[in-house]
Symmetry: C2
Subunit: 209 residues, 2 copies
């Protein structure tokens, strides 16, 4: 497959989300025009984006929702199973473990880890919370692909470094810091406070108008 | 003040985060070169970005950390108080309430709301969880600026519509849906599953290389 531009890739999860909803509503076909209305983007943008993958749409006939959903899922790597552990079993870690429809999308959250003695051993809906001292052996033994870091910035960097030494290649980072890991390690940051600041910026900009 | 480009604005929260750390470390001055090394962006990018606000840096002398921190904070609207309520008092809502350093940044989380009878009345570190039926009167009486929606997509849209009718002008939306609100209402979306899909895309892209 040809290399897809970053801009298109960044839009795929949103397509995937809408297609999932359509599928749940048992809608089998949708035209670029209808999808455009629903998603509030132009129909020509949709056609251009989806043309990258070729052959999904037919003129005057629309897109096959299930097919497109599956194909975009494959491009997003969602046809593969991903083993994930969560480091930090506080509210955020448990929220992440419960968020979305992980199992149906090929994510398997195999364990949560924490250093807080009050949490260790607790059984949650997502499994038992384990002592962080077992984390490093665990990721090796269980071939963990993705580590979600839902812990304060203080220990995050050190833990991430150790996990990289254990072979972990992908992090979903909620800690309020940049991890500064080697270039071949993938990091997707969710800096929530930055998102909130973008909102307050826009509030302040509007007030000054 | 001149209109600052979106690209620059989108980088400001990250500057703010680094400056906050420097401040906590009692560092008074920093050169664009040092800041560049720390943030892993070019010194020329930093100079260009910060030149937008004028007068923060002095040649050969560096930036005054506290001053720059305060000024960027003002631009980001963090010098104003923001009253926020959280709708959805599950793990995610409580995680958000605890996240970061809200109080020091002018955010006041005045209440959490939920419709779950088991949660209503519970006292958390962030205050009592109130019945969602009081939400609409509450936002009017307390002049709430920002509503964080940390609840499933099902009810999110209807609740947001009602809040807009009550005069709420800014949402921090974690619900797994686009709210489709009027254009003068500000919405900052945090679609966590989209962030995770960007990660799995990159994993899958790397595997195929």
């Amino acid at each position: 497959m040809e290399k897809i531009s970053k801009a298109v890739v960044s839009r795929l999860p949103r397509y995937y989300r809408y297609l999932e909803e359509l599928r749940q509503q048992k809608i089998e076909r949708i035209s670029s025009k209808e999808l455009s209305k629903l998603m509030n983007v132009t129909a020509s943008q949709i056609r251009q984006d989806l043309n990258n993958f070729g052959g999904f749409g037919q003129q005057g006939y629309g897109y096959n929702v299930s097919y497109l959903y599956e194909e975009i899922g494959k491009i997003l790597g969602l046809n593969q199973n991903h083993k994930m552990v969560i480091v930090g079993a506080g509210n955020l870690g448990r929220a992440i473990a419960n968020y979305g429809n992980f199992k149906n999308r090929g994510f398997e959250i195999t364990a949560l880890f924490d250093q807080n003695q009050e949490l260790i051993g607790k059984k949650t809906a997502e499994g038992e919370i384990l002592d962080i001292k077992y984390l490093y052996d665990y990721v090796v033994e269980h071939n963990v692909d993705i580590v979600a870091l839902t812990l304060p910035k203080g220990p995050a960097k050190e833990i991430a470094d150790k996990l990289v030494a254990c072979g972990v290649k992908a992090f979903w980072n909620f800690a309020h810091t940049d991890l500064g890991l080697p270039e071949d390690v993938l990091v997707e940051n969710v800096h929530l406070s930055e998102s909130l600041m973008r909102l307050t910026y826009r509030i302040s900009e509007k007030t000054q108008k």
